[in-house]
Symmetry: C2
Subunit: 137 residues, 2 copies
DNA sequence: ACCCTTATTTTGAGTCGTTCACGATAACGT
DNA sequence: ACGTTATCGTGAACGACTCAAAATAAGGGT
C-alpha cells in the first residue's frame, strides 16, 4: 500500500484510480488548476471527466489532503503541501507560481493594528513579480 | 466641478454620468463587486448596463482611480483607496471586507527568504477571520 | 451655438471555470 | 461473493466576465 493510499484511507475516503492518478499528477506539476490536471490525466490513460476532477479536488481539499489557492487573474490552483503555512509568489507575466517559506512566522505584519472588529484567524501572503524566464524575455 | 470630475479629466477620461454615478456608489459602499454596483446604480435611476459597469471598472482601474482586489471565493471587488498600499481582512462567514493598514510597511515577511529566482515587485496580504456580526451569530 | 471626431455605451452573443442533479458504477466491509 | 453506499459520469446550468460591432454622446474646434 502506497503512502497515497494510506492518506486517503486515513481520511475515510475510498481509494479510487482517479484520486490516485490526480495526486500523482499534482506531484509532477504542483500548483495546477482543474483543467491542467484533467489534461494530464487524459494523457496518462487515467481518464476522468472534468466534473470528477472538480469532485476529487473538492473532496481532497475538504479532507485536508490538498490545499487550494486562488490567485487573482487565475483559476483555482491546488498543491500537496498542506502542513506548513507557506506563501506564494506569482509571475505577473506568465502566471507561474512558486512556494515561499515565510521566515518570520510571527511577523508584525501578520498582527494588524486595527482589525475593524474582526477576529483574525489566518493571514495569506501573495508576492507578485517576474519569474526567471520572464525576466530574460 | 467636483473632485470626481477632476480626477477623470486628469486621467484623460471623459466625464460621463455612469462613471460619476459609479464612483459615488463606491463611496457609499466600498469593496463592492460589479453586480452590487450595477444594482446600486439602477436603484438610483443612473441605469447602465452590466457590461458598462465592467467597462467603467476596467477603465478606472487602468487609469489608477480604482483598485481591484480578488479575494478567494468572491467576485472581484473595487475600492477608491489607491494611494496607500493597505491590506484587507475578509470574513470567512459572510464575506464582509475591511481595510487594514499594515503598520510595518517594510515588514520582514514582505522580504521572502527564497524567491525561487523571481524578482519581487509587490506583496499582498489578506487576513481571514470573523467580522463582528458573525462572531455573535 | 453647432459640428465632428472619437471615446464611451449599448446590445447581443459567447467564453471560462465551476456547480448542481441524478442515474450508473465500483470500493470495500461483512 | 454480496450488498451498501461512496464515488463517478452524463448532461444541464450558472455566475462572472469578455468580445464585437453598431448606436450614442462628450467636448474640442470653428
Amino acid at each position: 500500500m502506497t503512502t497515497v493510499e494510506h492518506q486517503l484511507r486515513e481520511a475515510g475516503l475510498r481509494v479510487t484510480a482517479g484520486r490516485v492518478a490526480l495526486l500523482a499528477a499534482l506531484g509532477d506539476a504542483p500548483h495546477s488548476d482543474a483543467g491542467s490536471l484533467h489534461r494530464a490525466l487524459l494523457a496518462n490513460d487515467a481518464g476522468v471527466s472534468v466534473q470528477s476532477v472538480h469532485n476529487i479536488l473538492g473532496d481532497l481539499t475538504a479532507a485536508g489532503i490538498l490545499r487550494k489557492i486562488e490567485p487573482a487573474n487565475s483559476a483555482a490552483l491546488y498543491e500537496l503541501r498542506v502542513d506548513d503555512n507557506h506563501h506564494h509568489i506569482v509571475c505577473t507575466s506568465c502566471g507561474a507560481v512558486a512556494d515561499v517559506d515565510c521566515v518570520v512566522g510571527h511577523a508584525p505584519c501578520l498582527s494588524p493594528s486595527d482589525t475593524a472588529g474582526f477576529t483574525v484567524a489566518s493571514a495569506e501572503v501573495t508576492f507578485w513579480g517576474l519569474c526567471a524566464a520572464c525576466q530574460t524575455a
